[in-house]
């Protein structure tokens, strides 16, 4: 099959984003920094690519209200730099942020990092959004206040939508203060030991904001005041028989964790797993596996031939799984379809009746009408 290279549209603001969809027809692939290009189902070919990387910048930042509105193509690391100047941050640390991932991309792929234990994921931190539907309709949802129950929360529909429901042009985010201090405790140990110790930590009053198995070691992070975290870190180290890391060693340990998640060897397939936290360890076998022992969210590397087995095993335990790296050839992307796939299909028809957006990402969920190719 011959393919002509697609037309790339790079809107810079809401108006040009609207035009990019309103003035075109046919399938469109929305693309950010490209850090999750082969996550989930393989994107179908599309004559038009909507590139969000010029849709950048902060639109409104109210430090005193701890909210910021930012264009969706802004890389998370850029935003964090700007917020840090005010002693604030988005309490979100998905591993691929370091590779330049955009906020819109992180949101659309429902990504999250170790801090999800303490702060939730972007579905908890996004308080408003502006979106453009496939027909160019611009809609706003939520607002600039943390507490808001007016109308349906449409932003949730875009969280994890892989570009198949609408283009997100701006996000309004809830921020948190940068903690005065943070400390990490490490225990090098086998996975089973880590699982047991993690349970002990979770039953304690030590309140870790992250608690991760990181390929051979258990890492627990505490945030708070300098004195408070020092005292808690000591207690935590004693409780699990681990050691409090220096600032440098902690940074190295967490950077390694992020690399394990976001920079796997190209030959491996990567599967993201979510399940009951107590069941996660049974899926974290193998080299390079990482996982939140409090969140139940893990990332494993497997030879491509074993992807289907992982999907089936996780589904059998009631969990969710999705492919995050596809080394070669067709591989099943999703462990299973969601139970409410009929509602999702109906939503897809309402919001994108011509199935222009995100073809292929959800494989055959929408009756194959958008399976791409």
């Amino acid at each position: 099959m011959t393919t002509t290279s697609p037309v790339v549209l790079s809107p810079t603001d809401l108006r040009s984003a609207h035009e990019a969809l309103a003035d075109t027809s046919g399938p469109v692939r929305i693309s950010g920094a490209g850090t999750a290009a082969d996550w989930a189902g393989a994107p179908g070919t599309a004559p038009t690519v909507l590139d969000t990387t010029r849709l950048t910048g902060v639109l409104a930042y109210n430090p005193a209200d701890l909210t910021v509105e930012v264009r969706a193509g802004t890389p998370l690391v850029r935003l964090q730099e700007e917020l840090a100047g005010h002693g604030q941050r988005l309490a979100f640390d998905a591993a691929r942020a370091g590779r330049g991932a955009t906020l819109g991309g992180l949101f659309a792929t429902a990504d999250s990092g170790p801090l999800a234990l303490g702060y939730g994921s972007l579905r908890d931190l996004v308080i408003g959004a502006t979106v453009v539907l496939a027909d160019g309709t611009v809609a706003r949802t939520g607002g600039h206040v943390i507490k808001n129950v007016a109308g349906y929360d449409l932003s949730k529909l875009l969280h994890g939508s892989y570009g198949a429901f609408a283009l997100v042009t701006d996000l309004v985010l809830r921020l948190h203060p940068v903690p005065a201090a943070e400390r990490t405790v490490r225990l090098e140990c086998p996975l089973d030991t880590a699982a047991g110790r993690a349970a002990t930590v979770l039953a304690s009053a030590l309140e870790p904001v992250a608690l991760e198995w990181s390929d051979g070691e258990l890492l627990a992070r505490l945030e708070g005041t300098p004195d408070g975290t020092r005292a808690r870190a000591r207690q935590l180290a004693e409780l699990i028989g681990g050691a409090v890391l220096t600032e440098d060693d902690a940074a190295t340990a967490w950077a390694r964790h992020a690399d394990l998640v976001a920079r796997p060897a190209p030959r491996d397939a990567v599967v993201r797993i979510g399940c009951r936290p107590s069941r996660l360890p049974r899926f974290l076998r193998g080299e390079g596996a990482t996982g939140g022992l409090g969140t139940g969210v893990g990332t494993v590397r497997v030879p491509p031939a074993e992807v289907a087995d992982v999907h089936d095993a996780v589904a059998a335990e009631g969990g969710t799984s999705v492919l995050r790296q596809r080394p070669a050839g067709p591989l099943r992307a999703w462990g299973r379809a969601p139970s409410a796939v009929r509602v999702l299909t109906a939503l897809k028809r309402e919001l994108d009746p011509e199935a222009r957006l995100g073809r292929g990402r959800f494989e055959t969920w929408f009756g194959g009408a958008d399976s791409g190719g």
Partner: protein
């Protein structure tokens, strides 16, 4: 009219013992906590399990009968108000805690379980359920899901949506599905999150899995008086600027303080213009350190009295005053309306000043109790219906909610839109925003049988031309734009 065939089928679906059809019985379902809106339903069914809920919904779907789910009926926006000739599906007989799992820290609940009973079931394991609406002794988890309810401690811990992992939902055609999952990971878009706060319009939540948190090691609470509302507001801003995230920050103005003190004698100062309740929780050492910081901030802003709760009993008393404030207002006014709106926290002083002026202009008093930490106001508009003040009070109350939108906030922080504010939605959202919401509703409920007439404006409710959209202040400032 609900025809006989549909009636018979509903009785068959839930069993004759679980149906109310006598006029007196039906009348007790005519309204929720917003008693101004009333409608007697044609029939009430009280299913005893998820399968009967689904069976009842399937009958409604087949016979095109509108239905309204109902928990405890404490809602304050007319969300559970019945629909004419429609059926009320009460979840009050689904009250079992199905599972408490201390290892994975979660509980599975039937929808009629009260909010407080979740924490009671979790308590033996040192766990609790965080969202704590003031109505928690009676309101149900199903109602909390529908309204995405909040509470005083939501500033630190988040709202219902941040605590619900998954739900078994009966869709408007009777299909039973699961939304959400065992972890924060999702299979595709977050339908769980779309359902949360959908006010009973997208289906009926039946088995709800919530996260449980470990009870914090320490809780510290103080009550502080201030010479003015703006001074108290500055304290809140300074606490936030210091990087402290308190578990709760509540503010009351003088009128609210007087009412609460009369009702429960919580030890509030009768003549103080404003008071704050600040609560911190967490690990002992840190909590203590930050509590000292909060005290210093209070002193810096001219705090006239600072009382620290010495023990759990004293803490409970401080909270009792705050939580009783709504009802207590009944002691200083024959009638009152509870309003709910949100402004960015930095505009608290401004909104209170405007509310005071609007009250003066209307010749009505307004008492203020609010979740100051997140800018969620609960102005209480006091009036005397016998003196013919109802209409003026309603107008003022509506204007206050719309003022919140004008200041960059929201029509509702926790009580929902329901019947009450549907016609104000065009003040906050543009035509396209509302149309997209309507498309989402169509995907779930194409026949519009599930709590119809709520949440979105309808010509029937609001007239052919509901209030016109006013540009959002950020639009006016050129920060955001609408095409």
């Amino acid at each position: 009219m609900l025809d006989q065939a549909a009636r018979d089928a509903l009785v068959a679906a839930v069993g004759a013992d679980n149906v109310i059809s006598d006029p007196v019985g039906l009348r007790s379902y005519e309204c929720d906590g917003l008693t101004g809106f009333r409608q007697v339903p044609a029939l009430v069914v009280l299913p005893r399990d998820t399968e009967s809920v689904a069976a009842a919904v399937r009958v409604c779907h087949r016979h095109s009968v509108p239905f309204v789910a109902r928990g405890a009926g404490t809602g304050l926006s007319g969300g559970a108000m019945p629909v004419a000739d429609g059926v009320v599906i009460s979840l009050q007989r689904l009250r079992r805690v199905l599972d408490v799992d201390p290892v994975d820290r979660r509980a599975v609940l039937q929808p009629g379980v009260t909010n407080l009973d979740i924490t009671k079931a979790a308590a033996p394991h040192g766990l609790y359920y965080a969202p704590d609406p003031s109505s928690q002794q009676v309101c149900t988890i199903g109602g909390n899901v529908a309204e995405n309810s909040g509470g005083a401690h939501c500033l630190k811990y988040g709202f219902t949506t941040n605590h619900v992992l998954a739900m078994t939902v009966v869709l408007p055609d009777g299909e039973v599905v699961t939304l959400g999952g065992d972890s924060g990971e999702q299979l595709g878009p977050d339908l769980r999150g779309v359902f949360l706060g959908s006010e009973g319009t997208l289906g009926i939540a039946c088995e709800i899995t919530v996260r449980l948190l470990r009870v914090p090691e320490t809780v510290r609470t103080l009550l502080a008086d201030f010479p003015s509302v703006p001074a108290a507001g500055e304290v809140v801003s300074d606490i936030v600027a210091a990087g402290i995230v308190p578990a709760a920050v509540e503010m009351m103005d003088n009128l609210a303080i007087q009412a609460a003190e009369k009702a429960v004698g919580a030890g509030y100062t009768l003549d103080t213009p404003a008071a704050l309740v600040v609560e911190l929780d967490g690990p002992e050492a840190e909590c203590g350190e930050q509590f000292e910081q909060v005290k210093a901030i209070c002193e810096r802003h001219g705090c006239t009295r600072l009382h620290v709760a010495g023990d759990a009993g004293e803490r409970a008393r401080i909270w009792k005053g705050r939580k009783a404030a709504f009802a207590a207002v009944g002691r200083i006014s024959p009638d009152y309306i509870v309003q709910d709106g949100v402004v960015p926290r930095t505009r608290l002083a401004e909104v209170l000043d405007r509310i005071a002026r609007m009250g003066d202009a209307a010749g009505l008093r307004v008492a203020n109790v609010f979740h100051a930490g997140d800018g969620n106001l609960h102005p209480l508009v006091l009036f005397d219906a016998d003196a013919g003040e109802l209409e003026r009070a309603e107008e003022l109350s509506k204007d206050i909610a719309e003022l919140c939108v004008e200041l960059g906030g929201s029509l509702s922080g926790e009580h929902g839109i329901g019947t009450d504010k549907a016609c104000s939605m065009p003040r906050m959202f543009g035509v396209d925003d509302l149309a997209v919401m309507d498309r989402v509703r169509s995907a779930f409920d194409p026949d519009r049988l599930c709590n119809p007439g709520k949440l979105l404006p309808t010509p029937r409710l609001c007239g052919e031309r509901p209030g016109v959209y006013r540009p959002h202040p950020l639009e006016e400032a050129g920060v955001i734009e609408r095409l």
